[in-house]
Amino acid sequence: MTTGHDTAAASPVKGGAAPARPTAGPPDDERRRARLSRRWQRDMRWSPYAFVSPFFLLFLAFGLFPLIYTGWASLHQVELTAPTDMHWVGFRNYTRIFDDDFFWNAAKNTLTIGIISTIPQLLMAMGLAHILNYKLRGSTFYRVAMLAPYATSIAAASLVFVLLFGRDYGMINWALDQVGIGKVDWQNDKWPSQIAVSSIVVWRWTGYNALIYLAAMQAIPQDLYESAALDGANRWQQFFHVTLPSLRPTILFTVVVSTIGASQLFGEPLLFDANKGASGGSTHQFQTLGLYLYEQGWVNQHLGRASAIAWTMFLILIVVGIINYVISRRLRASS
């Protein structure tokens, strides 16, 4: 199959398959062959583009055009009530972001929630993967069970967590009360609310990352462990000196993916808000950038401002991406 496909694909590049065919015959037959050959060449040349075109057409319509339009809208004062009625304001939407307390508050929250959700999440995933990597009875069950939270919808999970974290009638506060710690106002105090939002993220993504780690761990050659064992390394030493170094690329991958996920955090804080608004709590204590963007665009209907926030977020993400790239190159060079 593959070889047949390869030769077929390579032939036009090498000058086409037509000359290889018998050339004898009456002139009109030859012309017909030549025409067919030309058509065949055109076909070979252009049909791959037809095959890939659906993605690019969709990307143009739903990816590139919105990106450019958003950039254009961000230079205007424009409201959702009249999206065609644009007033040119230059970079005003961007310059005012610099002294927009709400934006920087949201940026700070995104960072802190990102940290307190990503780090425990990846550590726990690593630990779980390590345990699952041992020979266990019913290991398939545990693997499927770990992926179950990931398959749950954000909305359903968040709404359940809202009930669990409820101040007056929530189960977590009830338990805390039983052991004498007292009630925590999970929704209205800054750090408790951020921890609560993070816990939804952690709950949802830990199993997913654990399975990625597990897959990478199973690709590590058994010989390495055997020789380490021969050298007298115990389980922990094996983990630190064999498993972790071999997982480095996988860890980098999960860090990058989790960073992107954390910077786009939206559904969990939106649904966690007791006011059902997009302000991320009464004092914006857990408003993320995604939430602030949504609030400006769809609650307050300021499309221009929302577009500028979107582009600023995009630029911040690019910077984060570059930092990730530099760090990963350093790590690769050092290994």
Partner: protein, 438 residues
Amino acid sequence: MRARTRTARRRVVVLAAVASLGAGLLAGCADDGNDDSNESSGGGGGKTTITLGLFGTAGFKESGLYKEYEKLHPNIHIEQTVVERNENYYPALLNHLTTNSGLQDIQMVEVGNIAEIVQTQSAKLLDLSKYGKESDYLGWKWKQATTSGGQTVALGTDVGPMAICYRTDLFKAAGLPTDREEVGKLWAGSWDKFVDVGKQYQKKAKGTTFLDSPGGLLQAIVSSEEERFYDASGKVIYKTNPAVKSAFDLTAKAAEAGLIGNQTQFQPAWDTTIANSKFAAMSCPPWMLGYIKGKSKADAKGKWDVAQAPKSGNWGGSFLSVPKSGKNTEEAAKLAAWLTAPEQQAKLFAVQGSFPSTPAAYDSDAVKNAKNDMTGDAPIGTIFAEAAKNIPVQSIGPKDQIIQQGLTDNGVILVTQGKSAKEAWETATKTIDNNLDQ
């Protein structure tokens, strides 16, 4: 030979792929149009189909009004689509209006959004003043949907004249009168008196608060004012309007004194406080009675009662508008006018509890004799009719909802969480100003 068949097959495959993709895309685009024409011709069996876009529990269908209209007009077929929450319904409606596509023949608009619709979208909507009768409606209700140029873009459905619902058992336990006339007199005319009654209640309250939530009290006080967030010329004045500030301060004072539970309305925890009888009174438009009933335990039946509020205000209510882009605007306008006429509003009240915006309906038996088993068979029809007649004519603005929400969710709620009234006001105004800034 082999090469040629492969070529041919390949071309067929490419063509098939492109064709099917293209067909898929085209079909995707064409579907909407086809459906519409099918429905209006085929779906109703040669009848004209009128579609309604509604939110929440409008109740037209539930109270049998569509069937009745279809019987009166055999050539009409009515269909509706309902979105549960206005927060999801309204942005979509705005998008559809601004792009002039995807609109139903009749679209419902909430009172919190009507000013924005009137000011920014009137060009896309039919003038309904010829279809509805202005004299039928409460003056302020009609005015809310009318542009400065005299175009009435929507007809009023229900209104939310506010009274106070209270628990007779808790009032009795706290040594307060329980008769609705006497209770009304305790605080008649002034919200300060209302808070004073609350202080009296709180002295003997056992594990309960006088009111449910800071948002409910603020809403009640502010909506009984003539001038609120916008002045008559359409300028935002909420920050300098003494009426708003004093409403905020009075609510904050009551919260600091512990008269108010620290819940946000319409949230699960708030529902639980209703079920557990954790508060004694709340501001109460007619539709709230249904809500109370839905969240209460069975033993709460008959323990509630309804008294007049210190001052009448309006909370809630909707409108029906007819977008010009519809195919059957004439028929749609007739239907909208019929659905909002006094007789139909009275029927809707009997079934759904939506209070009519047409005073002519107040004398109908359906309203006059209306009783409610949650409130010990209080004559709610006459109580709310009395309140409706005293609602001031308010100048409402396009961003009323954002301002009200900011004052509540980013303001008075903070006082119940231990912040000072000053801090709460600062957080609220800063949030609102940022939200209003274009």
